[in-house]
Subunit: 498 residues, 2 copies
Amino acid sequence: MGSSLELYNQYKSTMQKIADVKYAAAVLQWDQETYLPSKGADFRGQQLATLSEIAHEMFTGEKVGNLLQDLLSADLRGDQKRNVELTWEDYTRLKKLSPDFVRKMSEAVSASFHAWMEARKQNQFTIFEEKLSPLVALKRQEAELYGYQAHPYDALMNEYEKGATVAMIDTIFEDVKAPLRNLLEKEQQKQLVDDSFLQRHFPKQQQWEWGIYLAKQLGFDFESGRQDISEHPFTTNFSSQDVRITTRIDENDFANMTWSTIHEVGHALYEQGLPTEQYGLPLGEYASLSIHESQSRLWENCIGRGTDFWDYYFPKLKEFFPKQFDDVSKGQFAKAINKVQPSLIRTEADELTYHFHVMVRYELEKRLIEGSLQVKEIPLYWNDQYKKLLGVDVPDDKQGCLQDVHWSHGSFGYFATYSLGSFYAAQLWQQAKKDLPGIGAQIATEGQTGWLLSWLRSNVHKHGRFYNSDQLCKLVTGKNLDSSVFVSYLTEKLNALN
Amino acid sequence: MGSSLELYNQYKSTMQKIADVKYAAAVLQWDQETYLPSKGADFRGQQLATLSEIAHEMFTGEKVGNLLQDLLSADLRGDQKRNVELTWEDYTRLKKLSPDFVRKMSEAVSASFHAWMEARKQNQFTIFEEKLSPLVALKRQEAELYGYQAHPYDALMNEYEKGATVAMIDTIFEDVKAPLRNLLEKEQQKQLVDDSFLQRHFPKQQQWEWGIYLAKQLGFDFESGRQDISEHPFTTNFSSQDVRITTRIDENDFANMTWSTIHEVGHALYEQGLPTEQYGLPLGEYASLSIHESQSRLWENCIGRGTDFWDYYFPKLKEFFPKQFDDVSKGQFAKAINKVQPSLIRTEADELTYHFHVMVRYELEKRLIEGSLQVKEIPLYWNDQYKKLLGVDVPDDKQGCLQDVHWSHGSFGYFATYSLGSFYAAQLWQQAKKDLPGIGAQIATEGQTGWLLSWLRSNVHKHGRFYNSDQLCKLVTGKNLDSSVFVSYLTEKLNALN
């Protein structure tokens, strides 16, 4: 056993090599969703499975176990101590899965992803069902392997949001459901907002350039990242210096690309702001998925659907699309982009009804994982819940239960973090406005959001995974998560738009 | 020790996992040369080094060694026997390099690649020199580790072309030098060919579409591959079902993109034609680099600069670029694209002087590796040899010794295979014409090259690495490599153009 420093350096280089393999897999996944030719899919699945297996074997092997044991009793402080603690947490959790299980999961995920693509193309759930059923079976097995106290779904949520439980999420959703329903009813009594101009023709190339312009304005560093096109927008990274976002462009829908770009830029700014020198170590990683989502939501909604933002950017927008917004005023535009209306597609939903979309998925997954709902029953359950919670009729599965990529990635236990992210975002934004008086005016007059980015960098990004979601929230805002802040934020915003 | 079949299956799955890692590295390299944001380069280098190290460790570990020993004495026949023999050859060779050495090499290569990019940008060799010197030192060390009989450069050439030696290549170049010089002199006495119309303005997008059209026409399967843009055109693959080519586009140079595309398509058709079921095994790999190059050269020159080809495609070309070729006849075009003229850039050189470009590099590398030339002396040596062999003055290093990517990749011992490839191409093409009477007329009247592709598939591609270059040449043409076939082919072609 060497000195603490020697041990730590050994740990660091081992962790970095494991990260190299995981990031290599992320490159292959990025390529899979952006540029992979269709016939390349099978071998790509195999290649990804091998990388997952290798990374898992490297991490859960005896060498890392012994090293961590030694480090836990070594004389470490501060960041080094915290890194080791967090790695130990990951180690004891992942140790529960065999390399063989990890490989099987990776193969099931690849098969499932391609089936999902095909199912969407043909608008036929059964194509997806065939590959999703074994994947769900594996996820249920995974929950058992991880272990849990109250509910198997807790074990899966824990992968994305440490400490999240069904009990906790049930309560949060219970808390917001009634106020959000009230707010929705009030909105529905108002005069119908005209947002038809957002469905005019917006040529692909111009939208692309507009998206790149926005990303640059918001501070996305194109020397440390890029944007590409994919079926489903996402952000990925292979270090804090290579962060990639994707978008999709619908020529008859201005909103789709614009706010998905701002959303992904929010994620990407977080990744670009994580400490580069902590590459491969927990403190170089994001705090949790809900905090990740708080960043995307803060930029997408608190900033990107705010009137301050469009005070500055609406004239710019008119330069990019003079014809399309010729007869539209800033006020009309602000109302249109904040229009509340129950709809079919989560990623296009307004800030309010969005959470009903999440609740449907959360409840559905809970049932799938506890075994009270079968994969083949998904479409019926989905359509039924959409009618109940959102009052809409789902015309087909493509606009229904086939719309999200998550299940095809094996991501069960993920969706709730989207709502948590919105709630954290509202709380962070409230605090930022307190800490940065005049930020709204600065955005409105100069379009400058750099001040806010600096605030996020030093209050959120730089900490990496040091704090969990709630600790971080308390550290920055002085309070635990409080969903009523979100309800107030939204109520005020919608009232002000009248 | 299990049955022969069990052992073979174990071997197969192990080799496939190693291939998964190597192909993953190839994806990261492809990305590095096409889409990587600039600041991502350092971590990418680290990630590539880790993958190389892992693949090397997996392959040279005791497990594979024992398995191969068992298999060598097992009851195997045909393809299985040959796979094991070839893997054993690779194993004993690569076993000579430690994983640590492989990692160092990979890191030196990444550093060197980025230095080369920067050196080209700034047109300054010294930037490259700093990273190339340690890389050359490593390559010299590698030659010693591999071992050799007569010359250290033999050990490096052997990586690309099994059995190639300085003695053999010296002889081949000695054989062709005088006839090629004579042919060059004769060409230089002819009336100067006007090829200025090839430097008219050819818009990027139209060139791109023209390139895609040609690739499709030649049989490149876009469901099993794609084309992208990179600094230096190349072909790579991650299975026979995911083969990627790149090109570069110069708006003032029609020739550059067109023939580099046909060239890379030639490589790609070979990769797409390798037996998919042999993924990860030697028989799923190309025979040798010279045979690989014979494929690209055959398509680029024997087909793509042939008059039959342009009988059909010249009218098509005029549809893509009506203005640019408005006043150009097919005869003028054919002369222009076969114009012989000593020049600076290898990849743009004509079929004849090309080999002088190769000879300069071959001699230079030989000296670098034997230690009689230092890295810092490269520019001077290069410029001097270009004057002697090609009679041209090199104005700067970007158009001189910084033009090729190879050294920055650590590829020493590679260039000679380009000439061998041309010579094999001429011999294969001669044989194809014998075997497929009327092929020229079919190309001329219908633009169909599928017949030739089928011939190459069954005579060359399907064998994978079963035969080495010379065995394959003998099998297909009945004769060993004979560079005089190339000289005759070229003499006839140039004479016919008058």
